[in-house]
């Protein structure tokens, strides 16, 4: 250690190596996005913007990321169905306000949740652990 990182030349070499790796990694991910098919149902696409417009993420999670006041909604579509979601969106709950959405907004949000549901499962019970600490979905 005493002979390493003692001058600017060594430090800049390490910095450039890290920066180059970071930029390659970033642009690889931008170019080769994890899911290739980028065509989306237009209703679901608008539904995503409604999800952001009403800040649903403040209380709800998708794949375990988001707020903690309400339940994770990744697979609510397959577990409860469209009517259940519509009823909640229309009436709210003792905690969640009724957002007075238009009929189209409700349809868009349901489509968005259907789209998310089709992308995979967020249930931790569907994963198994491996000896090296990594996990695999069954």
């Amino acid at each position: 250690m005493s002979t390493h990182l003692t001058n600017d030349r060594q430090r800049i070499s390490v910095l450039f190596f890290l920066l180059f790796s970071f930029l390659c990694y970033s642009f690889y991910l931008y170019y080769y996005l994890p899911v290739k098919s980028i065509s989306q149902n237009p209703e679901a696409a608008t539904g995503k913007l409604s999800w952001q417009k009403y800040n649903c993420n403040a209380c709800h999670q998708i794949y375990g990321l988001g707020g903690y006041l309400g339940p994770d909604l990744t697979n609510v579509y397959s577990k409860r169905g469209a009517d259940y979601i519509k009823a909640f969106l229309k009436n709210g709950t003792s905690i969640m306000p009724a957002f007075h959405l238009t009929e189209q907004e409700t349809k868009d949000l349901v489509s968005f949740l259907k789209d998310i549901d089709a992308s995979g499962s967020s249930d931790p019970k569907t994963f198994t652990s491996r000896y090296d600490g990594t996990i695999k979905q069954q």
Partner: protein
């Protein structure tokens, strides 16, 4: 006569810190309201429901961190270079851009106007003045620095923080292009890539400042140019760039992203090992400087770095993350890092900078002692209550019993009660710590205005006398 760097004048750099402190108080107020909504379902549901309160809390706290970090870096940069900033005008424009945007963002939340994503819930249009303000910050910093050769590690850290915040902030807005947002896995992969690195970027500004401050207190300037300082800096940078995959282990994204995240996160064991190795010398330094308010805050942050790092490393193991992900253990980690590390360090800088010219009243140290101990104890209780709630939620997530979400949340209410009470005590004590600092700053400023004709800059005071004693003994 040119104005010295430490003057009683309420300059723009100090305004960043003062505005940050006001945002911290605002953020705690919104945080307590949000915690109350966990305890009393439906509380303020019709006017300030949780989807409004949460972004008010999160944005206030994030902007406290960003404003205070910017102000600190700008002031320490002037102390380091022993020169004034390149352009006070750019600084004023930068301050105005941030101040106006933050006020507008908080007002827009109250008016139910969102449109962004988690942590940056405001309308994307507000990102433009924020990014512009940051670019002005970068220009002023680089021009004031003068050169890049043979700089200490904290200057490297500041430059890294400056560059990476801009990059990751821009990256976090890639979602505005349908190409990135049209699939949830793609969208969330890029979102958490940017967020993971963004937190690392403001940490670079804060940790860099803490190294500068530590050297200023001890008077020993060797560490910031040592190989170990640079080795730790590069470990931090490596994590900033590549460890973000640990946020998305359950997301259907590339497996290699998760493996890289896992492997890189484990290099934090090197930092943890270093903390344990240094423990004895940290304790002896602590005994030497413990009477120093600023140092005590740095020491508390050190302890919270240790606790938060252990939790972070544990949570970064995918097999364990499976249990902790989506539970309040993640919140405990965030709160430990934001309050215990970031806020304590930023408060240490605020005390160092604001007390230098406007010394607080002699009776203040008694208040400080009490506040400091109470804040730490209440933060620890707050942290444990979240971890306990998280463990119970993890058990519920993994159980096959089919207990409804609302019922599980009801079972957690005793822990939320402890969380609220400890949070309330902590917030009150934080205000007790901050209030005299803000009050004295304003009083000092008005005194300065009154004596503007015969200005006496930075009189030697108890603080400097104390600082000299520390330096001599070191």
């Amino acid at each position: 006569m040119t104005e010295p760097l430490n003057s009683n004048k309420l300059n723009t750099s100090k305004l960043f810190i003062i505005s940050g402190l006001l945002l911290l108080i605002t953020g705690m107020l919104f945080g307590l309201t949000g915690a109350l909504q966990y305890l009393v379902p439906g509380f303020l549901k019709d006017h300030l429901s949780f989807e409004i309160i949460r972004p008010l809390h999160v944005s206030s706290v994030i902007f406290w961190i960003i404003l205070a970090a910017m102000g600190t870096v700008l002031i320490y940069l002037q102390q380091y270079t022993k020169r004034k900033l390149y352009s006070p005008l750019l600084l004023k424009v930068q301050y105005l851009l941030f101040a106006i945007s933050i006020c507008a963002i908080l007002i827009s939340y109250c008016a139910h106007l969102f449109g962004g994503r988690e942590y940056w819930e405001f309308h994307p249009a507000f990102a433009i003045p924020i990014a512009t303000g940051w670019i002005l910050f970068i220009i002023n910093f680089i021009k004031s620095l003068g050169g890049f050769r043979n700089q200490p590690v904290y200057v490297w850290m500041w430059l890294t923080g400056l560059a990476f915040f801009l990059f990751t902030f821009a990256e976090s807005y890639l979602w505005i292009f349908p190409y990135f947002r049209n699939n949830i896995a793609n969208d969330m992969t890029i979102q958490w890539k940017s967020y993971g690195s963004m937190v690392g970027s403001w940490n670079m500004l804060i940790y860099g400042s803490s190294i500068y401050l530590m050297e200023k207190i001890s008077g020993v300037k060797k560490y910031s140019r040592s190989p170990i300082a640079f080795a730790l800096y590069f470990t931090g940078l490596f994590n900033l760039m590549f460890n973000w995959g640990h946020h998305i282990y359950t997301l259907p994204t590339y497996a290699f992203v998760k493996h890289i995240g896992y492997a890189v996160s484990m290099t934090e064991l090197f930092i943890l090992g270093r903390i344990i190795w240094q423990w004895r010398s940290t304790l002896s330094t602590a005994q030497k400087h413990y009477h120093h308010n600023t140092y005590r805050l740095l020491l508390a942050a050190d302890i919270w770095v240790f606790l938060t790092l252990i939790l972070a490393i544990i949570m970064s193991v995918p097999a364990i993350n499976l249990y902790t992900h989506g539970t309040h253990i993640t919140v405990a980690h965030t709160m430990g890092a934001t309050i215990g590390i970031n806020s304590f360090l930023l408060l240490a800088f605020a005390f160092d900078i604001l007390q230098e010219t406007c010394f607080t009243s002699p009776g203040y140290s008694k208040w400080f002692n009490r506040g400091f101990i109470t804040v730490n104890i209440s933060l620890f209780v707050f942290w444990i209550s979240l971890i306990t709630a998280g463990i119970l939620k993890a058990k519920w997530q993994m159980a096959e019993t089919g207990i409804p979400f609302s019922y599980m949340m009801k079972q957690l209410s005793p822990y939320f009660m402890v969380f609220f009470i400890s949070g309330f005590i902590m917030a009150c004590e934080f205000v007790i710590l901050i209030y005299p600092l803000l009050k004295n700053q304003l009083l000092c400023y008005f005194k300065y205005l009154g004596k503007k004709d015969k200005i006496k800059y930075a009189e030697p005071n108890e603080y400097f006398a104390e600082l000299n004693l520390v330096k001599n003994s070191g």
